[in-house]
């Protein structure tokens, strides 16, 4: 709560390791014995039907919920890390964000500047840059509550970006972006804009873990995919191994098909819609 400077860097390896993790809420198991490994430099998408435990898993990985098993963010166990240490290693975009007081956009984004940066010009520049990346340049003076849902979500993303601005920390270890349905309230242009931004973050060495609902967006941007159903991992692997209509049909309990058009990426559609 009082920290102003960055804590000493934690020794990090490039991987997020989840090993035998179970999470319960009020003694009801939500996530059961899940294991996988995400690598920095890649976008990992977590997909699955509603209620399959995606958000709960996310909350365990970000240190927000207690869990059994092992979650290590590049070495140390997440549950043992202090909030101020974790905050320097990973940023989290929650599903929906209500703000209790009428902060303006630059004040919200500025909350992400946790490194105690005192230089006002530098702060201002960073905020403007972050807003530019999410396509909200010039929104600094607007009141957060007056924005549309999609704009609010992008402001929050700009705030998270400010927190873990450099994908690599000073000693070259990756930082992580955890995005819970980052594009759920965005129009298609901004969906692609935000997903490109996430991919750029990974390309520059950071790690990205995103809960997604849109299968085609997943197919377009994820390097690796974790498929969840009823709190368990149904499949985990490279995108093209996992994004198969048979597997997805079982996952969602809904017939899906792959629609291939010459010269374009195959599209996943409901089976009965095929003309």
């Amino acid at each position: 709560m009082f920290h102003q400077k960055m804590p000493d860097a934690v020794p990090l390896t490039p991987d997020l390791v989840v090993d035998g993790v179970s999470v319960s809420a009020d003694k009801v198991p939500i996530v059961r014995d899940l294991s996988f490994k995400a690598t920095a430099g890649e976008v990992l998408a977590i997909i699955g039907p509603s209620g399959s435990g995606k958000t709960t898993l996310m909350r365990a990985m970000t240190g927000e919920m207690a869990y059994r098993g092992t979650i290590s963010l590049g070495g140390p166990e997440v549950r043992g890390l202090a909030p101020e240490v974790l905050a320097c290693v990973r940023g989290v975009l929650p599903q929906a964000s209500q703000i209790s007081f009428p902060l303006n956009v630059s004040e919200v984004v500025g909350l992400g500047l946790i490194d105690g940066q005192r230089d006002r010009q530098a702060r201002k520049r960073r905020i403007a840059e972050a807003l530019g990346r999410v396509g909200l340049s010039g929104f600094e003076g607007r009141t957060y509550q007056d924005l549309s849902g999609g704009e609010q979500q992008r402001v929050q993303l700009a705030r998270v970006l400010c927190q873990v601005w450099e994908p690599l920390d000073p000693v070259g270890a990756p930082r992580w972006l955890f995005l819970d349905e980052p594009v759920s309230s965005l129009d298609i242009k901004h969906q692609y804009q935000i997903m490109r931004l996430a991919r750029d973050y990974a390309i520059n060495g950071g790690g990205v873990v995103a809960v997604l609902h849109d299968l085609n967006l997943t197919a377009a941007f994820a390097d690796r995919v974790l498929v969840m159903r009823d709190g368990e991992g149904l499949a985990f692997g490279l995108r093209d191994e996992v994004m198969r209509p048979e597997l997805l049909s079982v996952t969602y309990d809904f017939p899906l098909e792959c629609l291939a058009v010459a010269g374009a990426r195959p599209v996943i559609v409901p089976a009965e819609d095929k003309a």
Binding site: G63, P83, S100, S106
Partner: protein, 373 residues
């Protein structure tokens, strides 16, 4: 009420919003303006009363007195003026400043903590709890609680009020918060219930109280700074000043908390520690205020809200500004209370309620889509 925005208003056009959303210069200007206002109100209050006193002439002597260069009344100054200012008005002004600052800052911290602009120690029953603690010692201080009273001396009543406030705040938080989410409806309703309960217990004490104690109890109904003296100042000052010193360290955490508890924790805030510290500080400052001045309402709602409208909700600036505006507002209200029906006195709570209650309704009506209600 004192007009707070005059010094700010001069610079308003240039500071309001440079288009880059940076409200810090405006906030600094408001704080600077409030410092001037507070000093002016203090001097005006010292000068005002049945006897007009040339306060400015007294100032150098007062400085000398407090620096220890002067014992007793200075020469060339009327003894009557000296006594009126030093023994009657100055403790009252100092106590008003302490209580006003404590109430306004408590309101601001509580609103930040509960993430709602309607949270206030007076409304959610914390003041009532503190009142019960204090009443226990006033009525039973010479009987069952005499040993404790002897041990704690003048600090017994403020500490008891602090205890009462602390217990009420903790209860409220436990009742109003489920799974990290504070329900404002539950909070306000629980506050009413707790307030009624503690009020009933205080009412029971009335039956065993003697005449003198009854009079002491009476003034809690509406609150008053009458009967201020240096003992009261000394008993309340340590707790309130400690709170005012600690509270800036909460600002960054309270700012992050506007995003919610989870997001604040993601930003590296130790949320549980922030909550604990806030609750202790609010209970302490409210308890100390209630012990010396009774339940003065609405300062904790009106002051932070006015400031948020003027300069934004950034707690780094809101908290110090609330201390200044709360102090000057309460001194102004008290000056009014003791002059408006002179030589009688009006309870200051009547004035703050007259100004504050409509304001509270106005906030309610403006915020129809109240978060979490």
């Amino acid at each position: 009420m004192s007009d707070t925005s005059l010094p700010g208003r001069l610079a308003w056009s240039g500071l309001k919003d440079a288009g880059n959303g940076n409200r810090e210069p405006l906030a600094r200007a408001v704080i600077a303006g409030l410092m001037v206002v507070t000093l002016t109100v203090m001097l005006a209050s010292l000068a005002t009363g049945p006897i007009a006193v040339p306060v400015l002439d007294l100032l150098p002597h007062m400085a000398a007195y407090f620096l220890g260069d002067l014992d007793g009344a200075p020469e060339g100054i009327s003894l009557r003026d000296w006594i009126v200012v030093m023994d009657i008005r100055l403790p009252r002004v100092v106590l008003g400043a302490l209580v006003g600052a404590a109430l306004a800052v408590s309101g601001a911290v509580m609103q930040g903590l509960f993430r709602n602009p309607l949270a206030d120690p007076g409304i959610v029953g914390v003041s009532a709890g503190a009142g019960l603690g204090a009443a226990l010692f006033i009525v039973l201080g010479n009987a069952v609680l005499a040993p404790v009273m002897a041990l704690l001396g003048i600090y017994a009543v403020p500490l008891a009020a602090f205890g009462g406030g602390l217990i009420t705040t903790l209860l409220l938080y436990r009742i109003g918060t489920r799974g990290g989410i504070t329900s404002v409806a539950t909070l306000l309703l629980a506050g009413i219930a707790l307030g009624a309960l503690t009020g009933a217990m205080t009412g029971l004490l009335v039956y065993v109280a003697d005449d003198h104690q009854l009079r002491d109890l009476q003034f809690w109904g509406l609150g008053s700074l009458a009967g201020s003296n240096w003992d009261k100042v000394l008993s309340a000052a340590p707790i309130i000043l400690a709170m005012l010193v600690c509270v800036p360290f909460l600002a960054r955490g309270l700012n992050a908390l506007t995003l919610g508890e989870a997001a604040a924790s993601h930003l590296g805030i130790r949320v549980q520690r922030l909550k604990n510290l806030s609750i202790v500080l609010v209970a302490g400052a409210t308890g100390a205020s209630v012990a010396v001045s009774g339940g003065i309402g609405f300062v904790g709602i009106v002051v932070p809200h006015l400031l948020r409208l003027t300069m934004g909700p950034d707690h780094r600036f809101l908290l110090p500004a609330a201390a200044l505006l709360g102090a000057s507002m309460l001194i102004a209200a008290d000056t009014l209370a003791r002059t408006i029906v002179a030589p009688a006195e009006m309870p200051i709570g009547i004035i703050t309620a007259f100004a504050g209650a409509p304001f509270f309704l106005w906030i309610l009506l403006r915020k129809r889509g109240l978060t979490g209600l």
